[in-house]
């Protein structure tokens, strides 16, 4: 089985960390992984995106034209990338920052998760990427949540390991919101 | 019978291609004497440059790397860093060191690479036939400055021994000449000091040797020697410009 997911937002939303986290989780499950980042020239506030592909065998193209799942964290990425989701695929949208009004996405399962709001409720808006990851594994069922817990230890620098419990709670909240 | 003069062991028993009256041969000999004196020939790597000095390996009985034009200090840096127990020196002319290789020499000196640089300044490109060099004197006619060097257009000659002495990485910088017995004796002392500093791992050492090029100057050897006294030394004064032992 080959899975692919596309994450996009603006710099500072933790898009690349989210991609890294899913990658470590997939490696934890014995899969081969390709993580392909792309970002604007700006160090802060520019566009940030990444594609993660994982598979039991060959990961194939690190570039995906029509992703099976896209997680879009801001309006700009939604406007640019929502329509590229593959037919029958899933588009997970940060409804705190994205107005989906007026855009019709036939054949795509659009999942609205108020990620900023949930992260704020958890105590830190910077956990928006963790909420997004939770929503992703809930909808895609591509990875186990235990794998993400293990992955946090690898994706986060040692000094931030104390934040792991809070991140796990944020992920669970994201999953919960995607279920509802 | 007591032998009072012989060929240094570090030089091969061959005749050179240098023109009559050229000072390269004298500089070669003094460098070879220094290698002999410190007993370092068997651990010395020479770096030849592009120009009349390219045949270093033909005259010195040592291992040699031939460098691209101007890059000898970078090549020597690589060799010395890879083999810090070896003695590494470059031998470069004025076009090589002060024109195309200015960046490499400045940065190697500034890093304080533990190498010795022998810089032969004869105010012209010798091998290519006497074109204007970065050290060509104001007003000096060459095949590419037929009306004389115009400092308003060509800039003034670089004084490398002084320039490098301003860099913290340089342990020793001196200018010598070879046009008289007195100057040769002084040059021998300076070249030995430069190599001694490397043996003692004191850092970058630099010798600028004012040299005659009778062929490209259009002079006989004696007149060329005189020109060194009359024109070169006044512009490029001899002496020690940096000696960390004195600091």
């Amino acid at each position: 089985m080959r899975y692919d997911v596309f994450f996009a937002g603006y710099g500072g939303q933790g898009v690349l960390l989210a991609g890294n986290l899913l990658s470590y989780a997939a490696i934890h499950e014995g899969k081969n992984v390709s993580f392909f980042p792309a970002y604007g020239v700006e160090k802060r506030g520019g566009a940030a995106m990444c594609t993660v592909v994982f598979a039991d065998g060959d990961t194939g193209s690190p570039v995906v034209g029509n992703p099976s799942v896209s997680v879009l964290l801001n309006q700009l990425s939604f406007d640019k990338y929502a329509a590229k989701v593959k037919q029958g695929g899933i588009c997970i949208v940060n409804s705190s920052l994205v107005d989906t009004g007026g855009i019709d996405l036939p054949g795509i399962d659009v999942v609205l998760v108020p990620m900023n709001q949930i992260a704020l409720e958890m105590g830190d808006v910077r956990m928006v990427n963790m909420v997004a990851c939770g929503a992703y594994i809930e909808k895609s069922r591509a990875l186990k949540s235990e794998s993400l817990a293990a992955a946090l230890k690898k994706a986060l620098p040692e000094r931030n390991h104390k934040l792991i419990p809070a991140n796990l709670i944020a992920m669970e909240a994201g999953a919960q919101a995607a279920r509802d | 019978m007591k032998q009072v003069f012989t060929r240094p062991e570090s030089l091969k028993d061959v005749s050179t291609h240098f023109c009559p009256g050229c000072h390269h041969g004298s500089v070669h000999r003094l460098v070879a004497e220094a290698l002999d004196e410190f007993g370092i020939r068997s651990r010395t790597i020479g770096v030849a440059s592009v120009g009349c000095s390219v045949f270093l390996y033909g005259y010195f009985d040592i291992d040699v790397i031939e460098s691209p034009h101007g890059r000898a200090p970078a090549v020597a840096t690589g060799a010395k860093r890879a083999r810090p127990d070896r003695i590494v020196f470059t031998y470069q002319g004025d076009g090589d060191l002060a024109a195309i290789g200015m960046s490499e020499i400045i940065h190697a000196a500034n890093r304080g690479e533990d190498i010795t640089v022998i810089f032969v300044n004869n105010t012209t490109y010798g091998m290519t036939g006497g074109q204007m060099a970065p050290t060509t004197l104001p007003g000096q006619k060459t095949s590419t400055s037929p009306y004389g060097r115009d400092v308003r257009k060509d800039g003034a000659p670089f004084k490398m021994a002084e320039l490098l002495s301003n860099l913290d990485g340089v342990a020793f910088s001196a200018r010598v000449a070879l046009n008289s017995p007195k100057n040769v004796i002084q040059a021998r002392k300076m070249i030995k000091t430069a190599f001694r500093y490397q043996v003692e791992k004191k850092g970058f050492s630099f010798i600028e040797a004012l040299s005659a090029c009778p062929t490209n100057w259009g002079m006989n050897p004696l007149d060329a020697n005189q020109r060194v006294t009359d024109e070169l030394i006044p512009y490029f004064p001899l002496g020690v410009y940096k000696n960390t032992a004195n600091l």
Partner: protein, 360 residues
């Protein structure tokens, strides 16, 4: 090799290069910062001092390649890395290294050009890499990885081949491979039997011959003899070291050919074509010099239609056309490099469909 999840690491292509160089015994690195390869000097500046190695951030790309020349001349394993604009500056030193029969590894993480171009992936430096790049008529070994695992393994191979054949070896990748992170098994250095380096400069001790590393040949016939010797070496290299990957070529009616990052994108496009019932295969050269000519000749005996795909307006296609049987047709699809021009698998699938329909 038996691997488990626990043994794998997750690293960028650029980091994999640095790790592989250290595993291969490289202890001297000389470089200059340029996007998209700066992770390589950053990693090595961190790791080399602790290993007793030497790291120099050179004054220029020219300085760096000449430091590599000097270090290699003493017999150690040494490396430099850069991208387009910097690789252009290094051509002088590469030519001298080729002329002096010096080994040495050069990593080229291609970016868009000409000039300052852009930092996006490119394959437009294929000619520069495979045709020698500098003056005088010479070739260097060019290896083209298509994954992070492969850039790790090929970096180690580059050191071995460079030592064996006494010529510079280049690993030619682009910012997709350099910036991408993948799960990698950090393999051990291959146990290759290497020839002794009797030619190195080390100081002429009593009873040993004078060694000179040089590229100047002025004697009657000397330069010509050098060239003929190198031609023979290139032939030996082609006979022994040509490497390529074939995927589903046995029954293919159309063979896609691509190297490096585009071959990865093409692989997924080929899977899409196979799912749609089209008999399509992939021919991926791993050595760009030597180009695996015989392998192309062999598969073109059974398949007569090729589709060459490149992230340029077409460079490798010249080698493909020179290698396939005379009655084989080589179609082309390429996009010039730059922001937004990286093709998607879906886009390549459309090209495959178009060419496949034309042949059936």
């Amino acid at each position: 090799m038996q691997t488990t999840a626990a043994e794998k690491i997750f690293v960028k292509g650029n980091e994999a290069v640095a790790m592989a160089a250290l595993e291969a015994g490289c202890r001297c690195y000389f470089g200059y910062p340029i996007t998209p390869q700066s992770d390589i000097p950053e990693y090595l500046s961190r790791e080399l001092p602790g290993l007793g190695g030497e790291f120099i951030q050179a004054e220029s790309e020219i300085g760096a390649i000449n430091m590599l020349l000097g270090a290699s001349a003493t017999g150690v394993r040494a490396m430099t890395s850069s991208s387009g604009p910097g690789i252009s500056l290094k051509q002088e030193g590469i030519s001298y290294m080729a002329g002096s029969e010096l080994p040495g590894v050069i990593i080229d993480i291609m970016r868009a050009g000409p000039g300052l171009g852009g930092i996006d992936a490119s394959q437009a430096d294929y000619f520069q890499a495979t045709r020698g790049g500098g003056h005088g008529g010479y070739r260097i070994i060019v290896l083209a990885p298509a994954s992070v695992q492969e850039i790790y393994d090929l970096t180690m191979l580059a050191f071995d081949l460079s030592d064996i054949y006494r010529m510079p070896a280049m690993v030619l990748a682009d910012s997709v491979i350099g910036q991408m992170k993948e799960s990698v098994t950090p393999n051990s250095r291959p146990k290759t039997v290497l020839p002794p380096k009797e030619w190195v400069v080390r100081g002429r001790a009593e009873g040993t011959p004078q060694n000179v590393v040089k590229s100047l040949y002025l004697g009657d016939g000397e330069m010509e003899a050098f060239h003929w010797k190198m031609q023979a070496r290139y032939q030996e290299l082609a006979d022994k070291e040509s490497r390529w990957e074939e995927v589903q070529t046995a029954d293919a009616e159309l063979i896609v050919t691509a190297f490096g990052s585009t071959s990865r994108i093409a692989k997924t496009a080929i899977s899409m074509a196979r799912e749609a019932g089209m008999k399509v295969g992939l021919m991926r050269p791993i050595t760009l010099f030597p180009f695996p000519k015989k392998a192309y000749a062999a598969i073109s005996e059974r398949c007569k239609l090729f589709l060459d795909i490149e992230l340029s307006t077409g460079q490798m296609i010249d080698d493909v056309r020179l290698s396939v049987a005379r009655d084989a047709e080589v179609a082309f699809y390429g996009r010039p490099p730059g922001a937004g021009s990286l093709p998607t698998p879906e886009e390549l699938f459309e090209q495959i469909k178009k060419n496949y329909q034309a042949c059936s």
